[in-house]
């Protein structure tokens, strides 16, 4: 239950407090902020009349091209076009080349944030995230380097792409790919060689009913180690 903060409102404050007509005046009367009650009532009626051509609500409602109360001299596009199929509103499209066009924050499902991500993305994942495929940052170390990096696994499609990117991050040229191997810390806390399990989609081993997690769902940390070849 909400606390009423003692906003002492007049009897029915919503009656006809119409700032539309105020719009031309505000430039002249900057000092006065209050409309009188009579002004309010008059303006409300005018406003209503402006929208309805007749008193019958069932009739087709037509919008006049310009209204006496319009504050701008430009006709309002939306009012002139009652066609619901036209795309009038401005969609905020969030383009992501990997995932096509998505509308930000739609459908309205609670987004799980970065610090909580690891392992939540299986195919058919419950509580899927909003808009973009959500980022999956993991820490990366390279043997012999003190300072680690962070990388977003959701941006890559396969092991090769990931390894190349990592080498680049640590400033190694790509011929060096033979000299390094990618290892990862899995869900059970073991360091394993990357490449054995599917990159993205989880599977079930039908014989033993064991879940086989995808790489991007399992990997907690990454490390590039020098191979002993």
């Amino acid at each position: 239950m909400e606390l009423e903060l003692g906003l002492a409102l007049a009897t029915n404050p919503t009656h006809g407090f119409d700032l539309n007509s105020n719009f031309h005046e505000h430039k002249e009367s900057i000092g006065s902020n209050r409309l009188t009650h009579d002004e309010n009532v008059v303006k409300k009626r005018t406003y209503k009349q402006a929208f309805y051509h007749s008193s019958k609500e069932d009739e087709e409602i037509e919008f006049p091209p310009t209204l006496p109360l319009l504050f701008s001299n430009q006709p309002n596009d939306q009012d002139d076009d009652p066609n619901p199929h036209d795309n009038q509103s401005s969609l905020t499209l969030n383009k992501n080349e990997k995932n096509g066009n998505f509308v930000m924050g739609w459908p309205p499902i609670k987004a799980r944030k970065k610090s909580n991500h690891h392992g939540h993305r299986l195919s058919g994942n419950p509580m899927a995230q909003s808009g973009l495929m959500n980022s999956m940052y993991v820490k990366v170390m390279m043997e012999g380097t003190r300072i680690g990096r962070k990388i977003d696994l959701s941006l890559y499609d396969c092991y090769e792409e990931l390894t190349m990117t990592l080498l680049g991050m640590f400033g190694k040229c790509l011929e060096n790919v033979k000299n390094y191997r990618l290892t990862y810390l899995d869900r059970e806390g073991d360091w394993l060689l990357a490449g054995a399990i599917p990159w993205r989609y989880a599977n079930v081993c039908l014989t033993y009913y064991l879940p086989i997690w995808s790489f991007i769902a399992s990997a907690r940390r990454l490390k590039l180690v020098r191979s002993n070849v």
Partner: protein, 584 residues
Amino acid sequence: MAHSFPEEVLEHVFSFIDSDKDRNAVSLVCKSWYEIERWCRRKIFIGNCYAVTPRIMIRRFPELRSVSLKGKPHFADFDLVPEGWGGYVDPWVSAMGRAYPLLEELRLKRMVVSDDTLEMVSKSFKNFKVLVLSSCEGFTTDGLASIAANCRNLRELDLRESDVEDLGGNWLSCFPESCTSLVSLNISCLGSEWSLRNLSALERLVGRSPNLRRLRMNRAVPLDKLANLLRRAPYLVELGTGAFSSELHPDVFSNLSGAFSGCKELRALSGFWDVVPAYLPAVYTICSGLTSLNLSYAAVQSSDLVKLITQCQNLQRLWVLDYIEDSGLEALAESCKNLQELRVFPSDPFAAEPNVTLTEQGLVAVSEGCPKLESVLYFCRQFTNDALFTIAKNRPSLTRFRLCIIEPRTPDYITLEPLDAGFGAIVQNCKELRRLSLSGLLTDRVFEHIGTHAKKLEMLSIAFAGDGDLGLHHVLSGCESLRKLEIRDCPFGDKALLANAAKLETMRSLWMSSCSVSFEACKLLGQKMPRLNVEVIDERGPPDSRPESCPVNTVYIYRSIAGPRLDMPAFVWTMDEELALRLS
């Protein structure tokens, strides 16, 4: 009148009055009642932390024990509020640390909480008992360690859906051995990677908390630990499991099943991450007592879900993924006659083709079979006006109805008409409707219906709907009980907003993003309505660098007696002229 009863008597009478609404009414009777009431008020709920300042709260209510605050607007849950917007609790905690040394409870929702704040909480309030952080962020496990270590009488620590950075320490070990007061612990939002030390700390904590009744764990707690935990807490009323998967082993299963059957008070179950269907029967023994079941993390087929749900004849609340499908919902409608709340979430909302058979039929079946149904949240891909008529006819008792048809502007898939008439039937028949979310193809007609009939509606969410200002005008002028209105991607402009400016002072807040509200109109509103804060959120740069008639990205309007806030980031502009001049 004021002299006929001594103050102590009035205070004693007032102590029986709990609801905020009644307390507010009491305080308006006369000056002396106002005075007495304000000194004996112990609990406060502030729905918008920017509507009032800590100083004003403390000045009026000097003896509070329980404070609840909400910060960011609801659409922050869907990433529509940029990071850094605000909602910082620190100034509140600093002020309360000095003013309310006896504070016992703090409940926050959508606020930014830092580790320093948590440390301050743990050290300022000697009798601190309850901390609920719902959808909060900004803190780490270090902050939790302070709470664990310093709050000697902690009863409740609930982090529901908060975003906590896990620094890898073992904060659970910070609960001293002498701490035995825990009643409720919800750490389900924490990560899926935990050290063994944390796990054993959890086991010990549970073992020494005889009053523990609510335990919601995170994914990192493996299934083979669950049986032990249950045996240490057989009086649990609410349980959130960790991961519900393991290699199939008959011993693990029978151990788990036995542990569950020992928990005879269990009424609510949740968790079920990574669930392997073969383990679900382990909970069968307690199903008949369950009133609440949250399977929204259980990626399991309909048949397995049905086997579980049909055992829960006393179920009142079910949250489930759309894997349940229409057939599963039909089974639900047959078995669970006490169902009050249903939420069906999408398993794969971005799939081009539907991956499951979940349609309007499922919800219609539940509306037919469950006479006590009052709250619905339903994600699906298709709907018809007919289905909405049927639901409205079957369940006039609905109080919350949120339908999300995943593709924006989807018409009735049979008639290809807008869904205006269907939603119209909902608001006309369901006279107690307090919350409504719309979706699908909708014209201004639906808003006409809403304005005419939805007299008890308090919260309305609109997206990709309407034709023009008339739609918004219907809502603002017709919905007498409206407190919260949130709108995105609708062709609503300045006229309706300006014509109903006074209405905005009777509401908590209005959110409009990707609509057609001009900067000019925002400025006018801000200047003319001193008790409204009009904030423009626009990451494209200062609104006055574009023509004034240009629509703003987002406008967030809320009533306030605190004046414009001073903690706005660079992408939020206040329409308060004075403040803007002072800050520039």
